[in-house]
């Protein structure tokens, strides 16, 4: 399966890339890692007339911290983020999540921002970004804006990016000391696309949960928060019954679309079990325990 023809651009600076994106609009797709886009192009499900390859833009490759955020440039490879001590320290959840994405060869080329921009409803990184309250920096030739993850994912493979914008940075707020987090997923084969994945973060104060975030992938047209679960958690003491209740509440409002890997009903069952298990793991790591 070969991709349809396209005109290829390889800008060396961000400025060049943004000018191209403005000129070409939705005629152009951005090529970063290519691990999601190229398979679609090979099936001719994506046939962009132009490809803007950003892999030569070294200025987009960075990992740092800035005002309470972990800040990751758009070209940072998943494998680099996974092995970064900064990421391990500032967002162990992100590190854990990336480790579940595909396999080594995929992570060697795939980028964090690319996974976010692709917005596959089954993908793990968007769910973690959502749970953590992350943001994207979206830049056009004339503008720059910060888009919260909650506002970013609009539908399957559909984001709030305008046709002249490129994600240049992923920003993840660092959660407070003592936060426990976990990402668990059920996938039919090892590190295949998850049927359901859960990202959970919890923080305790005086033995009570003062902050909790739960997000799921594979449960909806996008990665999605589970406010029902979060409401059950905040203010309570972490117990076995609580996490079970949170699991039940998490899926109460969902009507997930089904596919060959699992019907909607199956995803709800798994979602419920996995929210419970992920929260339990998060609590174990927070020292919240039973």
């Amino acid at each position: 399966m070969k991709s349809a023809p396209f005109t290829y651009h390889a800008p060396r600076t961000l400025g060049e890339a943004l000018v191209l994106k403005r000129e070409l609009g939705d005629q152009a797709r951005v090529l970063a890692g290519g691990q999601s886009l190229m398979p679609l192009m090979h099936l001719r499900l994506a046939t962009p007339a132009h490809l803007i390859d950003i892999n030569r833009i070294d200025e987009l490759n960075y990992i740092r911290t800035a005002d309470g955020h972990l800040v990751i440039g758009a070209l940072t490879r998943q494998m680099e983020a996974m092995s970064s001590v900064v990421v391990a320290e500032k967002s162990p959840l992100l590190k854990e999540t990336i480790g579940l994405v595909g396999h080594a060869q995929i992570r060697h080329r795939g980028t964090i921002a690319g996974s976010v921009a692709h917005a596959d409803p089954s993908a793990e990184i968007p769910a973690t970004l959502l749970a953590m309250g992350g943001e994207l920096v979206a830049r056009s030739a004339s503008d720059e804006r910060l888009v919260g993850a909650a506002d970013f994912f609009l539908g399957p493979f559909t984001t709030a990016l305008s046709e002249d914008e490129i994600i240049t940075e992923v920003r993840v707020p660092v959660w407070p000391e003592g936060t426990g987090s976990a990402f668990l997923e059920l996938s039919r084969i090892y590190h295949g696309f998850p049927v359901v994945g859960v990202a959970a973060l919890v923080h305790l104060s005086d033995g009570r949960i003062d902050r909790a975030a739960v997000a799921l992938c594979g449960m909806s047209g996008t990665a999605i928060r589970a406010p029902g679960a979060e409401q059950v958690l905040v203010g309570s003491e972490p117990t076995v019954d609580l996490v079970a209740e949170a699991g039940k509440a998490a899926v109460a409002g969902f009507d997930p679309p089904g596919d060959v890997h699992g019907s909607g009903e199956y995803r709800r069952k798994v979602g419920r079990a996995y929210v419970r298990r992920t929260l339990q793991a998060a609590f174990d790591r927070a020292g919240g325990g039973r």
Binding site: S3, D53, H191
Partner: protein, 163 residues
């Protein structure tokens, strides 16, 4: 209609310069343009791993990379494992342990094995099993492949200490 680009790349210690279609995948460039047909294509979707090569020492799926993206890079394919006409210890080990049946996944497995052993010359069987999860094999059920990589590790450690 088709966009031509320049690719200058070192593959297995030889430098090539070529003008190719922008959309040409790296795997097709290696196979059809350079005649290095050792790298196989199993799915063109980034799932099977048969097309694995090393680009600047890192394993990638050559079906998902454009040839032009390898411009300026160093690529190693299976043909580069044993440039002197002999067999690399990995190839010897796969032969010894029958780590192949049809051979189609083998070039990708060899290069992934190569990378695994560069990262860690003394992996456990469990670690090797996990690390080859991105390379499908339909013939062997993986067991003898794992044994082969461990055997290669052992031979290479012995060579390193004796040499």
């Amino acid at each position: 209609m088709s966009d031509q680009v320049h690719v200058g790349v070192r593959v297995n210690a030889r430098v090539y310069q070529a003008e190719v279609d922008a959309r040409m995948a790296l795997v097709d460039f290696l196979r059809d343009h350079l005649g290095l047909t050792g790298t196989n294509m199993g799915c063109e979707q980034g799932v099977c791993g048969a097309c694995t090569v090393l680009v600047d020492g890192i394993s990638v799926l050559s079906c998902l990379m454009l040839a032009v993206q390898a411009d300026g890079a160093e690529v190693m394919t299976v043909e580069g494992l044993a440039l002197d006409g002999g067999l690399h210890p990995l190839q010897e080990a796969f032969w010894e342990k029958q780590g192949l049946q049809c051979g189609f996944c083998t070039p990708g497995m060899l290069l992934r094995g190569y990378e695994i052993l560069v990262e860690n010359p003394d992996p456990t069987a469990t670690e090797v099993r996990e690390k080859i999860a991105g390379n499908l094999c339909r013939c062997t059920g993986y067991q003898f492949i794992i044994e082969s990589i461990l055997e290669a590790a052992s031979r290479m450690r012995a060579e390193a200490t004796s040499g």
